[in-house]
């Protein structure tokens, strides 16, 4: 294998694409949008090519070179099926978010740059196995996402953006401190996760360090009671921002939990996992119940994210094959379905100027395509068989029954509640009389493109589970037992 740079390119392309987009507006109308799409599409092609070239078993692609050797900082990028799937999600949602914000003309150069930088930073999170570089990208994600909410958001956007940033930056300090400790405590300063994984860390220290990691991951996930930033951030963000928040940023939290605690702190993780399951069980019910009580459609979907990500947390902490596999599938599935719902609600808001469930209605008469799209993603939200979400949640529950029947039953209850909020939302928006919203123009071709893409992804992975499950196999097995470096 030669000196491959494909994984590096997956981070750098969106990053430099963002810089290009910042200035592209001067060279023609919509130039910044086309530049952004081109950068993301090119990255997607590189990613697909990487999938097609044979890897070395555990990793599809692996890169390692020095960044700042005196700080012990290396670039160690490794992609397995889990990272790969999440990278597909990230690039696809990046393209979707650029298309969705096509009509926003205000400071559109910076808007597209912020979208691309969010994608670049989360790609870095999904690929990095040098913990310092991981922490670098982890913190980097916050800044462009903050801009997205704060500049192009709705309502009280500055407060929501600040809340998002402060919650995550403060929680990130736990991760930073733990990572710095790991770097400094070895014989040589290194942040190489594979080397750190082989260290014999005392149990008490493991628990402490894991708490530091978990602080960052659980806030990003988010799981109650650490979720206070999420409803505001999702609601006030522009549609593209909500898509990236729900589809991408929440997944970085889940990914971090999936990848690092079992790998670095196996014993500490075993100690804390039951508490994680308790949090997850609580969150799945809490999020679902609160979703039932919302009148703002966007807020409702935001709370469903809390519920679904809590189920992911439970699956990860369950630690058995099925629960881990289910968590992985659910991460990908939720990325598609939640961002599609945000897209639809955003489109509806653009047309009617309201997201209030009491004022919406009658979509099935005036806008059949709209109604059909809602139908697909509502069934995903309530985990209807046939959608990837069903697969994920069914696997988590199956796995949880092997661990503890109480947690499994709580997840089942949360699923029942999800039927309530999903049907309520569906009934209010799609059926009934058009209340204040009046006749709604149907989805345009530009809106249909992303929707069809997301629907295909949701249904494809639901109907052909082996596609996604095969890809996740390696990561799941690794989370069961500590990994050895290649």
């Amino acid at each position: 294998m030669g000196y491959d740079m494909e994984l590096t390119a997956l981070i750098l392309l969106p990053f430099f694409g963002g810089i290009a987009a910042l200035f592209a507006g001067r060279f023609g109308r919509d130039a910044e949008r086309w530049v952004s799409i081109a950068a993301l599409a090119l990255a997607l092609v590189i990613l697909i090519l990487a999938f097609l070239t044979p890897g070395d078993g555990r990793w599809i692609a692996f890169e390692r070179f020095d960044w700042a050797p005196s700080l012990g900082m290396q670039v160690i990028l490794a992609m397995d099926g889990l990272s790969g799937a999440l990278l597909v999600v990230s690039l696809a949602l990046g393209i979707v978010s650029v298309i969705v914000s096509w009509k926003i003309t205000e400071h559109s150069g910076l808007l597209n740059a912020a979208l691309l930088w969010t994608v670049a930073a989360s790609n870095g999170v999904f690929l990095s196995f040098d913990l310092l570089v991981f922490a670098f990208f982890w913190e980097l994600m916050l800044v462009p996402a903050f801009l997205l909410i704060s500049v192009w958001g709705h309502g009280d956007r500055e407060a929501a953006a600040l809340k998002f940033l402060v919650f995550n930056a403060v929680a990130g300090l736990g991760l930073l401190a733990a990572v710095f400790y790991l770097g400094a405590s070895g014989e040589v300063v290194t942040f190489d996760a594979f080397e750190v994984a082989e260290r014999d860390i005392p149990h008490g220290v493991q628990v402490l360090l894991l708490l530091g990691f978990a602080a960052a991951f659980l806030v990003k996930l988010p799981v109650p009671p650490l979720h206070a930033w999420l409803p505001d951030a999702h609601t006030q963000a522009p549609t593209a921002g909500s898509i990236l928040l729900a589809g991408l940023l929440l997944k970085t939290g889940a990914y971090g939990l999936f990848r690092f605690p079992p790998m670095l702190f196996p014993e500490g993780f075993a100690t804390l996992a039951p508490w994680g399951m308790v949090l997850g069980a609580f969150g799945s019910i809490y999020g679902a119940l609160l979703a039932c009580g919302q009148t703002d459609a966007k807020r409702l979907v935001a709370y469903t994210s809390v519920a679904h990500m809590s189920i992911v947390l439970m699956g990860i902490c369950g630690g058995v094959y099925f629960s881990l596999m289910g968590a992985g599938v659910e991460m990908v599935a939720h990325a598609f379905s939640a961002s599609a719902l945000f897209l639809l609600i955003g489109a509806l808001y653009d047309r009617t100027g309201t997201r209030d469930l009491r004022e919406l209605g009658g979509l099935q008469q005036s806008a059949p395509r709209f109604a059909a799209a809602f139908a697909v993603f509502f069934s995903a939200a309530l985990a209807m068989p046939g959608t990837a979400n069903f697969l994920g949640e069914a696997l988590v529950i199956t796995g949880m029954f092997q661990v503890n029947w109480i947690f499994a039953s709580i997840t089942l209850i949360s699923l029942v509640v999800s039927v309530v909020y999903a049907t309520r939302l569906f009934k209010r928006v799609v059926f009934g009389k058009a209340r204040r919203s009046g006749v709604v123009e149907d989805l345009t071709a530009r809106e249909m493109g992303p929707i069809v893409l997301l629907a295909i992804a949701t249904l494809l992975f639901g109907m052909l589970p082996q596609l996604l499950m095969g890809a996740l196999e390696g990561a799941v097995t690794a989370a069961l037992a500590p990994v050895a470096g290649p």
Partner: protein, 447 residues
């Protein structure tokens, strides 16, 4: 014997100060140019001799620490020079900045009680003049506080030096290397004197006034260049002094500064006052690093203050452009009115908050790592709490910079300010991507 090239930077600054002073009454512009040239020449000579073999005289040491810190002092002083307006009240400003830089260079190389005291006083007195020159009420207040506290600091320092001399019979700073009751007391007093210049609690009272009402050039120099010089002096001393006195004294002052600086900064709406209190907190991080006793403490402290300086200079420059007593509301939508000023301010604040991509992220890395390496867990907890508070108040200001409410009034930025903002932002961004560019040389240059 000190070689002639080793003295060149001092000569450049000394003669430059004389020349700038002579040019000041008739040709204020020329005076600024001369000062800039002298600083650049001094920085260039130091840079050229960075790797030359070390030399030593009775008063000054000419080693990697003195050269690297001296170079950073000169660069930060160049940044402060940009704050002087050509038509402003302080025609003597350039000459005073040169004198203060000369003091800074002496401080960075001082190995003897006399040179240490001389350097410190040169910085203080030149800055006092720079503070009061506009002769406004606010300037006089800031200058007065600086003078009184500075005099108290100098007296404490002198007492410490005298005690050390009495205990060891030598005025060489090596005298502090011994042990005993008297030397411990001497070290504590010496430390207190230096803490004043770093604005550590409880010697911080001059800082908020200095950053708010006073001439910005003086604030910029006191906040960036002079702190680099004092950190260099502390780095030199911290290998000599008894570690326990050092750890307790600097640890207490550092921890208190982190907490108090951040807590008070949290409640400030004036940008200058916020920066002032936050500078107390940042000095606290540096002091706790030195208190930790970690082997990497020296390079960590210098690295931190070096990445802090450009961020502070950029933030102060934008604050100055927004007018006297600028408040948080004045930042509203700045990036849309003046992309350069808004962008530079946002980057500077992000760096102060320690988020990537900015040098501040690695500053935080190095400070936390030094505290971990030294096993200073209480200080680490304080530093984490301080960073958490900092994240909130810095980002509050960043949020406003990007607010979508364009205000037609755009602040005026002279060419010198634009250049300063560009260079400071470039330094912050580049070190945010390649921290080793600064850290590697520091590591090899420090003893």
């Amino acid at each position: 014997m000190p070689s002639f090239p080793a003295l060149l930077p001092l000569l450049f600054l000394g003669f430059g100060a004389v020349a700038a002073m002579l040019a000041a009454p008739r040709l204020p512009r020329l005076s600024r140019v001369l000062a800039a040239l002298a600083l650049m020449a001094a920085a260039a000579t130091l840079a050229a001799r960075l790797w030359a073999p070390a030399g030593q005289s009775a008063l000054l040491s000419d080693d990697g620490l003195a050269r690297s810190a001296g170079m950073m002092v000169c660069l930060a002083a160049l940044g402060s020079l940009a704050f002087l307006r050509p038509g402003g009240p302080s025609k003597e400003g350039p000459a005073l900045i040169l004198l203060a830089s000369l003091g800074g260079l002496m401080l960075a190389g001082a190995t003897h009680a006399a040179s240490l005291f001389l350097g410190l006083e040169l910085v203080t007195l030149a800055l006092v003049a720079l503070f009061v020159l506009p002769l406004t009420r606010a300037a006089l207040e800031a200058g007065y506080k600086f003078l009184i506290l500075g005099a108290a600091g100098a007296a404490t320092l002198l007492m410490g030096l005298a005690l050390a001399h009495a205990a060891s019979g030598t005025a060489d700073l090596q005298a502090f290397a011994g042990r005993g009751m008297m030397l411990g007391l001497a070290t504590a007093l010496l430390m207190a004197g230096l803490c004043f210049k770093l604005a550590l609690v409880p010697f911080h009272m001059w800082t908020p006034d200095a950053f708010d009402g006073a001439p910005r050039a003086a604030a910029a120099f006191a906040g960036a260049a002079s702190k680099i010089a004092v950190v260099a002096a502390l780095v030199r001393l911290h290998t000599l002094a008894p570690p326990e006195v050092w750890a307790i004294g600097l640890g207490l002052a550092g921890g208190a500064s982190i907490l108090l600086g951040n807590l008070v900064a949290l409640r400030q709406d004036g940008i200058g006052r916020m920066l002032g209190y936050s500078s107390v907190a940042h000095a606290g991080y540096v002091a706790s690093t030195l208190a930790s006793g970690a082997p990497m403490a020296a390079e960590a402290a210098l690295f931190y203050i070096a990445v802090y300086a450009p961020a502070l200079l950029a933030a102060l420059c934008v604050t100055a452009a927004l007018g006297p007593e600028a408040r948080i509301a004045d930042l509203r939508g700045l990036v849309w009115r003046r992309p350069l000023a808004g962008g530079a301010m946002a980057l500077a604040l992000i760096s102060l908050a320690g988020l990537p991509v900015s040098a501040g992220f690695f500053g935080k890395y190095i400070v936390f790592t030094a505290l971990i390496e030294g096993g200073a867990w209480t200080l680490l907890a304080m530093a984490i709490a301080g960073s958490a508070l900092g994240a909130y108040y810095y980002l509050r200001f960043v949020a406003l910079i990007f607010r979508r409410a364009p205000d037609p009034a755009a602040p005026f930025l002279p060419a010198a300010d634009r250049l300063l903002l560009l260079l400071a932002s470039a330094a912050t961004a580049v070190l945010g991507l390649r921290p080793d560019l600064l850290l590697d040389p520091l590591r090899r240059l420090l003893p």
